[in-house]
């Protein structure tokens, strides 16, 4: 109940700002589209010699994969950023202390803010992904149910991770600067994540699984880009495409596991460090 009241306040606030600054929202999306198209062109043209360029365009799957990775990376960058740079700027302006004095508590306020932010990011990213993939001639498989499940799990995965980093920022404000590097790593991982990168020795593989974005990206790409189809070789040696639900994919289970781990760890660490920062008096400092 408490959470929904905060959520309502956040939805109204975001809607007012979005409506009031509609031109900024619109230009943001146009700039995002332009940036992605330039990046894709650069990505494709940087591969191979001049003769290969046209054939790269003929195979838009790679571009679609890249676009998806880019958007998921931006999403991860943004969500974790709300807990780091967002929190730092709130401390600077004094809004953080106001939120701490809300009877609902800082964690609930943050969760609601992030959720509202994430929903608007997902909507605008969805439009952007559609526009860019259509432009490069790619195709996305909008299988809504698995996509919604995957996005929800990805969100909580990132929020859990964000809460942990955010808790550290509450006590040690300089962590916010280091967090930029962490966000860049998540972004890069999302752009290049594919099943092949998990073919590593087990400690590295485990580390990749535990990062909040690896399996999320692989699963989302599997649905949106691959259409949940896998290649199978029949008894006659023929290669066929067969439907295999993402819910049976190993990355999906890893995603659930890391989601649970990060949510529990993140919220626990955040609550402990919020308490510690009250003792240290660092809530309002920056």
């Amino acid at each position: 109940m408490s959470f929904f009241r905060v959520m309502k306040a956040e939805v109204v606030r975001s809607f007012i700002i979005m409506r009031r600054y509609w031109f900024r929202t619109l230009t943001g999306m146009v700039i995002g589209y332009g940036m992605l198209m330039v990046l894709i062109a650069g990505f494709i043209y940087s591969k191979g010699g001049a003769g290969d360029k046209i054939s790269q365009f003929d195979n838009p799957a790679a571009a679609t994969n890249f676009v998806l990775g880019f958007i998921i990376g931006m999403f991860a960058f943004g969500v974790v950023g709300m807990f780091t740079q967002g929190l730092q700027s709130m401390a600077t302006t004094g809004v953080l202390e106001q939120l701490c004095m809300s009877p609902h508590g800082l964690a609930v306020n943050f969760m609601a803010q992030t959720m509202v932010g994430a929903v608007s990011t997902i909507i605008s990213s969805g439009i952007l992904v559609y526009a860019v993939t259509w432009s490069v001639g790619g195709m996305l498989h909008w299988d809504m149910f698995p996509i919604l499940v995957l996005l929800t799990l990805t969100f909580f995965n990132l929020v859990g991770f964000g809460f942990m980093v955010g808790g550290l920022v509450l006590v040690f404000k300089q962590v916010g600067q280091i967090a930029i590097i962490v966000r860049m790593v998540l972004f890069a991982l999302a752009v290049f994540a594919r099943e092949e990168i998990l073919n590593q020795p087990w400690p590295l593989r485990l580390f990749l699984h535990m990062l909040p974005i690896t399996d999320a990206t692989i699963s989302i790409k599997y649905v949106l880009s691959g259409g949940q189809m896998v290649e199978k070789i029949t008894a006659s040696g023929e290669t066929i495409q067969e439907f295999s639900s993402v819910f049976t994919h190993p990355s999906f289970y890893w995603l659930i596991a890391s989601c649970i781990v990060w949510t529990v760890v993140g919220l626990t660490v955040f609550r402990i460090l919020e308490d510690y920062s009250r003792s240290k008096g660092t809530l309002g400092s920056y």
């Binding site: 009241r5 905060v6 309502k8 306040a9 109204v12 606030r13 007012i16 700002i17 009031r20 600054y21 302006t93 004094g94 809004v95 202390e97 106001q98 939120l99 701490c100 004095m101 809300s102 009877p103 609902h104 508590g105 306020n109 308490d275 009250r278 003792s279 240290k280 008096g281 809530l283 309002g284």
Partner: protein, 342 residues
């Protein structure tokens, strides 16, 4: 003002550890980047605030005033001691207490600048659990009360500093708290805005029965507003009295005798009970300023009677006698100076 205690700080201690960058050690040529130092923000602080009272916390910068406010609002946890609001321990019942306390912290951007004052009040009111049916009428009433009615639909970023401060007070009042904590409410404001805020603080205390804690280093604000004042310095409380009592602390010692001509003050210093005597030349002519002992009272009276007699002997005409009124500034300086020299 009622006798009911709404806020109580009981033997509160708070210490912060700060780090200082050190220069290179000349002898060892080694550099220790930081040196930790303990800063006491509260040393055994105890006071109470009654219902309908304006209580002032006075002290120089870094004395621990803001820390006291933050401890009452649960933003800072005391190392030891207890803070109670309406009989509830802040550490144990923090969320319940946050519904009873409204806070305006100094120099912070409490409000959200892209929103209008009305939207800000609706936003913070929802966060503070104000029921939907009450929220909008209360927001309008508050804006009307504080004098921002005609600015309710203008983005906060376009408001002046004084108007933003008024809005911050409205935000603190949106949940109708019994206790209002104002940290330096008039700092940086022009005379008119400062006056308006002081009037509103008076009104909400006298007419609405709230308790208000004001921290300030502006003596005029404290002297005008507060029923009682606590002076703190380096985290230590060096006085806590009614404002008039505090002003009386030193005022009875100094008397001004306005004369028709200057006179040698040294002979007055010899009178038993007189601490010092000096001549001052003011716009209304020469004046003999005499400081007498506070106690014993008989000695003080005799000394005061002796001065006119001595003046008459010297052929000096006495125009008027007055007791020099102390202002809070001199009291404050006297108290903080003696705290430093102690």
């Amino acid at each position: 003002m009622s006798e009911e205690v709404l806020v109580e700080l009981r033997h509160v201690h708070k210490k912060f550890t700060t780090r200082h960058v050190l220069p290179v050690d000349e002898e060892t040529r080694k550099r220790r980047l930081f040196k930790k130092r303990d800063v006491h923000a509260a040393k055994d602080i105890s006071f109470t605030i009654r219902r309908g009272e304006i209580f002032g916390l006075l002290g120089p910068n870094g004395a621990g005033k803001t820390t006291a406010v933050k401890m009452i609002s649960g933003l800072v946890r005391p190392d030891s001691g207890n803070v109670f609001v309406n009989g509830l321990d802040v550490e144990k019942k923090r969320r319940r207490i946050l519904r009873m306390v409204g806070v305006v912290l100094e120099g912070t951007r409490t409000s959200l600048w892209p929103l209008t004052p009305l939207e800000n009040l609706i936003y913070y009111g929802t966060l503070k659990d104000v029921p939907g049916a009450l929220l909008r009428p209360r927001a309008h009433d508050l804006l009307d009360f504080i004098g921002l009615k005609d600015k309710k639909n203008i983005q906060v970023r376009r408001l002046s500093r004084g108007q933003k401060q008024k809005l911050a007070i409205c935000i603190a009042l949106i949940a109708d708290p019994q206790v209002l904590l104002l940290d330096e409410p008039t700092t940086g404001l022009d005379v008119l805005s400062g006056r308006a805020i002081k009037d509103k603080v008076m009104e909400m205390t006298r007419e609405q029965g709230r308790s208000v804690l004001v921290t300030t280093h502006d003596m005029h604000v404290a002297q005008e507003l507060c029923d009682r004042i606590a002076i703190i310095n380096n985290g230590e409380m060096i006085a806590c009295r009614r404002t008039d009592e505090l002003l009386d602390l030193f005022s009875e010692q100094v008397f001004v005798f306005k004369l028709n001509q200057p006179i040698d003050p040294s002979e007055f210093s010899l009178i038993p009970g007189i601490v010092s005597a000096k001549m001052e030349e003011g716009s209304e002519g020469p004046a003999l300023v005499v400081q007498v002992v506070r106690e014993p009272e008989t000695l003080r009276s005799e000394a005061l009677y002796a001065v006119p007699a001595r003046l008459r002997q010297s052929g000096c005409l006495l125009h008027a006698v007055s007791q020099r009124q102390q202002n809070l500034e001199s009291v404050f300086l006297h108290l903080t100076d003696s705290a430093v020299t102690r």
